[in-house]
């Protein structure tokens, strides 16, 4: 390329641009539905962006309202003082602060040490950001903290009423300590008040010796007097409002109080005085009114809910077999539910879950057809937590009975963060292994086929399981770029636990290759990285699967630091008929940010193929690539061992490492990527095999033109098929057109051939020249193609669950019913996709076949320069 000092040659530049833009530019178009939807969204959002009166708070929360009547119950405080002074100081002039908004918009925690002081951004990398309200000895100490959606804060209040507070994400609270002025009691500790304006707050009081409430928490709906223990507050509304006493009509704002442990009190709505709260108590304050559970007494505001049970005591008809049972909820039979049977096996073996759907069942199910053995059963119904049984022994000679009483379970919420930075991680895959109906749980959600009890974290890293079964859960979180993290948590039915934090470590990876005994890459071998806890310390064994590529290589990414078992199951397609799995296993140790290599290389058996390749005129075929491929494997076994070598100057070749069997041989033509099939041979066991090849001298050639621009077309793909008996065709070879558009297939025997031309660059429709006759030694160069703009098609083959089906056979037929082959093997890739970038316009049909599914056929139209998307959903046999 020219240097800075060279003058541009505009004629050259003009030609370059003509070539590049005309021949190579393909505009990128967005999905029109996405475009239209986003346009509506943008216009709607712009309409809302009109200037509005400034809010009195950085968040969309109502102004702080103090229930002065309640808060001025001065007797609850140590010291006698009206609350009005500090409240007024706390509120101050409630105008929006640009500085506060900017700090929060940057994702930083904001704080200030006085209501009239400016806001500052908290520094440091710790999460949560820590603050201290020190006992300075002055008349008052003040600390106000506001957190963005991605951050939390902790405030330590020092002094006689020492306490710790955790401010949740997107929250705002102020802490004020006041000393008595001119008090006769110089030793008075003063008073600490916390005002919660937005978000959530959790108090972890340290001082447990107080007998009077010493900390008042002021919220917009009412105050809470916090004595000691662990207290949480937020502004959420009741999840099941029908279970609480009704709020005032038109109520908008709720304060949710939860006493995890210790003691607190609120003003009693049924009389004067304070309503004491103790361990496990929970209530709402709304419009100055306290909402209690409908069944609550003064001292007990909570009714425990029993977890579901599985009983083997339901009456069973005489002579019955299989597994029978009932599914109820709230005492009533359920019509719609699913029962999943999961066989207990010894890892690393695993069993597929066996689901049965029941509809209009009136709560009754019969599960038959299970092989004898130990099983665990799950009952799943919309709106309820998963219920699971103990492991039961299914046998042929007796029936089992199960009873599932479904409940709504408990809520588990939390956040997924980067262990290194504390930053939230969105779209993390969070799964309860305990409620999941598989034994081996992939890190790829689609592998789990809907049998996982899972959620995804939102943009701020938060996640929430709405209905988990009561009891102990192992929760696993994973996300791209990170290793997984596990946490054991207890879920209580009817309760919400919101403090779960899953910290994901930075990931490393394991790479390697799978090669067979011939030192050839094994394509599409199934390789897995598995956690090494085979003894089921966790409910599930976690794994990440991958298929090797065309070079037999694999990369298992997103693995957390630690020891991993790497398993090679061999060709994926051969696993379908396997009754037991016997993978090769190696171990790899993963470190964050590092790559570990694990290879599976089989030893080569000593079989040798030798011979000489000559033309029929006796000339040695020198310096050509020979490729051999196995042909006698099971038709469903798509794995073929490809071996290659080169002929020497005398035409001889030596190819070691073949297994006994039948093979096809290909020879390269003008370039190594252009090949021609030249015959079959057999390798016998235990001996070297001689195979000389004599290549005929027939030639089929011609020219390809660009019909759009009326000039030679280079780089077009030419595919040659030999016509056999009964109208069948077999792939013979593939070449590319040269710069002048010419092409040639050499070394052809006499016969009848079809030639198809495709464009390698643009979406030209293909053309075919069929039934070309070639005589012995004939050289014909009269096969002409003129390609014109066509379209593109992408075929997507999925199963009934929407998962792509790889290696499905694709057969296209044009509008004349002629079968057209676009590659040596038209098969879907690992994602179930097959794309053709140059197909002639018109009506087509595509037939898809796969041994595990019923075949299907679909018609579609191809338009000029457009892509047709065809999706076929195959049903399992």
């Amino acid at each position: 390329m020219s240097s800075e000092h060279d003058q541009p040659d505009f004629a050259v530049l003009e030609r370059n641009l003509e070539l590049l833009l005309r021949h190579c530019y393909q505009p990128v178009r967005a999905d029109p539905r996405f475009r239209a939807r986003l346009e509506r969204q943008v216009v709607e959002l712009s309409r809302r962006s009109r200037p509005r009166p400034e809010r009195t708070s950085p968040w969309s929360s109502p102004a702080l309202r103090i229930a002065l009547a309640a808060s001025l119950a001065i007797a609850c405080f140590v010291g006698v003082r009206s609350g009005a002074d500090w409240i007024e100081r706390l509120l101050g002039p409630r105008r929006a602060s640009a500085a506060l908004e900017q700090i929060l918009a940057r994702g930083e925690v904001a704080w200030r040490a006085g209501a009239s002081q400016g806001w500052r951004a908290a520094r440091g990398v710790d999460q949560p950001r820590a603050f201290v309200l020190a006992a300075s000895g002055s008349e008052s100490d003040y600390l106000e903290v506001a957190t963005p959606p991605s951050m939390r804060a902790r405030v330590d209040v020092e002094g006689p009423w020492a306490s710790q507070w955790e401010l949740g994400q997107a929250s705002h609270a102020a802490f004020v300590r006041e000393q008595e002025r001119d008090s006769a009691d110089a030793g008075s500790p003063g008073r600490v008040t916390v005002a919660l304006e937005a978000g959530s707050l959790r108090g972890v009081r340290q001082d447990t010796t107080a007998v009077q409430p010493a900390l008042r928490i002021v919220t917009s709906e009412g105050d809470v007097n916090f004595v000691h223990g662990v207290l949480g507050l937020d502004f959420s509304a009741p999840r099941e409002p029908e279970t609480w006493t009704p709020p005032p009509s038109g109520a908008q704002r709720f304060v949710h109080v939860v006493v995890d442990s210790g003691a607190a009190s609120v003003a009693d709505p049924r009389g004067s005085g304070a309503l004491p709260l103790a361990d496990g108590d929970e209530l709402y304050i709304c419009g100055g009114r306290v909402l209690l559970p409908r069944a609550a007494t003064t001292s007990d505001a909570r009714t425990p809910v029993d977890p579901p049970r599985a009983l083997v005591d339901v009456a069973t008809p005489e002579g019955a077999r299989g597994v029978r049972g009932r599914v109820t909820a709230d005492g009533a039979a359920l019509d719609e539910f699913r029962i999943v049977a999961l066989r207990e096996v010894q890892l690393p073996q695993s069993a597929d879950p066996i689901p049965r759907e029941f509809s209009a069942a009136r709560g009754v199910f019969v599960f038959e057809g299970l092989e004898p053995g130990p099983y665990r059963f799950f009952a799943i119904a919309p709106g309820f937590a998963v219920a699971k049984s103990e492991v039961l022994d299914v046998s042929e000679d007796r029936a089992l009975s199960l009873e599932f009483a479904l409940t709504r379970g408990g809520v588990l919420a939390g956040v997924v963060v980067d262990d290194l930075t504390g930053e939230p991680i969105s779209d993390a895959y969070v799964v309860s292994e305990s409620d999941t109906q598989v034994m081996v749980l992939s890190f790829v959600q689609s592998d789990n086929r809907g049998f996982d009890s899972s959620v995804r974290s939102r943009g701020n890293g938060a996640f929430e399981f709405e209905r988990l079964s009561a009891g102990e859960h192992v929760v696993r979180a994973s996300a791209p770029g990170f290793g997984a993290a596990w946490l054991e948590v207890q879920v209580v039915a009817g309760e919400r636990r919101g403090d779960v934090e899953l910290r994901l470590p930075r990931a490393g990876r394991i790479v390697g290759s799978v090669r067979d005994a011939f030192d050839q890459p094994v394509r599409r071998a199934l390789v897995m990285a598995s956690t090494t806890e085979f003894q089921l310390k966790r409910p599930c064994l976690s794994y990440r699967p991958i298929l090797t590529d065309d070079d037999g290589r694999f990369e298992l990414a997103d693995l957390g630091p630690g020891a991993w078992a790497v398993l090679n199951f061999g060709p994926a397609d051969s696993l379908r008929s396997a009754t037991t799995l016997t993978p090769e296993m190696e171990f790899g140790s993963v470190r964050a940010g590092a790559t570990t290599v694990v290879d599976f290389h089989a030893k080569r058996p000593p079989q040798v193929l030798r011979g000489v390749v000559r033309t029929s005129a006796g000339e040695p075929v020198r310096r050509r690539s020979l490729v051999v491929a196995r042909t006698d494997r099971d038709e469903r076994d798509a794995e073929r061992a490809w071996l290659s070598c080169a002929t020497l100057d005398d035409g001889s070749y030596t190819l070691p490492g073949l297994e006994p069997g039948e093979y096809e041989m290909y020879v390269s033509l003008r370039t190594p990527s252009e090949v021609l099939r030249v015959g079959r041979f057999e390798v016998l066991a235990g001996q070297a095999t001689a195979h000389d090849v004599t290549l005929p001298l027939g030639t089929i050639g011609g020219r390809v033109r660009d019909g759009e621009r009326d000039r030679p077309l280079s780089g077009a793909v030419l595919v040659l098929l030999a016509r056999g008996e009964g109208g069948t065709s077999q792939f013979v070879g593939k070449v590319f057109s040269a710069v002048d558009g010419t092409f040639e297939f050499t070394f052809l025997p006499s016969g009848r051939y079809d030639v198809y031309a495709y464009s390698a660059r643009e979406s030209f429709g293909q053309q075919g020249r069929v039934d070309l006759e070639l005589e012995e030694g004939q050289r014909r160069s009269d096969v002409e193609f003129t390609l014109r703009m066509g379209g593109r098609v992408q075929v997507r083959v999925v199963d009934e669950l929407g998962a792509g089906i790889p290696e499905a056979l694709i057969e296209f037929r044009d509008e004349h019913g002629e079968s057209v082959q676009f590659a040596e093997a038209d098969r879907t890739n690992a994602k179930g996709l097959y794309a053709v970038n140059g197909i002639s316009i018109g009506r087509w049909s595509v037939r898809v076949a796969h041994p595990a599914f019923l075949e299907d056929t679909r018609e579609f139209d191809v338009a000029r320069d457009e892509r047709s998307d065809v999706t076929l959903t195959l049903r399992r046999r």
């Binding site: 000092h5 030609r15 590049l20 986003l38 712009s46 309409r47 660059r761």
Partner: protein, 201 residues
């Protein structure tokens, strides 16, 4: 078809949007979406879902912070800057392909090389390289909208200078000059990207 908003500058358009003018917002979208989508497309390895996320996030952030746009750059450049941040955020979780690396490294240099001289003739075999399509698209996506419009109009749609001048709202003489600058810009960016990708040799 030109709208009345075509005559407005970026700042005036911003003001109209901030005032709640729906038509102005619609014009912003219509005038920026295609270029922004293509910009994102090449920088996320052609991942359609990811490109849509980036474009959507970019527009949302742009509308939220539109009052912060001060006109020192064009709206297109400003939007691309937002998109780059979004892409970087996604890339922290993914392993980008080589071209994404190239583009992300080249983004800050592209403006600096717009004044460079054009290159030598490209051999025809360049067209046979499958990466060439991606490079051409990536190059175009990196150019200002006016340059893109001029180049695609002339070399793909075969428009005359008069037709292009009508579309970009300039005189024919100014359009000739625009085409010259656009040609040079394309050549220089293409050269940069192809070299950084490992060359076409």
């Amino acid at each position: 078809m030109k709208s009345g908003f075509d005559e407005l500058g970026d700042m005036a358009l911003r003001d109209r949007i901030l005032a709640g003018d729906r038509d102005a917002a619609q014009h912003l979208f219509a005038s920026q979406f295609d270029a922004l989508y293509e910009f994102a497309h090449y920088r996320v390895g052609g991942d359609r879902g990811l490109a849509e996320d980036v474009v959507q996030d970019t527009f949302m952030v742009a509308l939220e912070s539109l009052k912060g746009f001060d006109g020192r750059s064009s709206l297109h450049t400003w939007l691309c800057g937002i998109a780059k941040n979004k892409i970087r955020a996604h890339r922290r979780k993914r392993r980008p392909a080589a071209l994404e690396d190239v583009l992300s490294e080249a983004d800050d240099e592209i403006d600096a090389i717009l004044a460079r001289v054009a290159s030598e003739p490209l051999p025809e075999w360049v067209l046979e390289r499958k990466e060439t399509k991606a490079l051409v698209g990536a190059t175009l996506s990196s150019l200002p909208p006016e340059y893109r419009r001029a180049l695609t109009g002339k070399y793909i749609h075969g428009e005359s200078v008069a037709q292009i001048s009508g579309a970009v709202g300039k005189s024919e003489k100014a359009t000739e000059s625009l085409l010259t600058r656009a040609r040079l810009a394309f050549a220089n960016v293409f050269e940069l990207l192809s070299k950084k990708r490992g060359g076409l040799d």
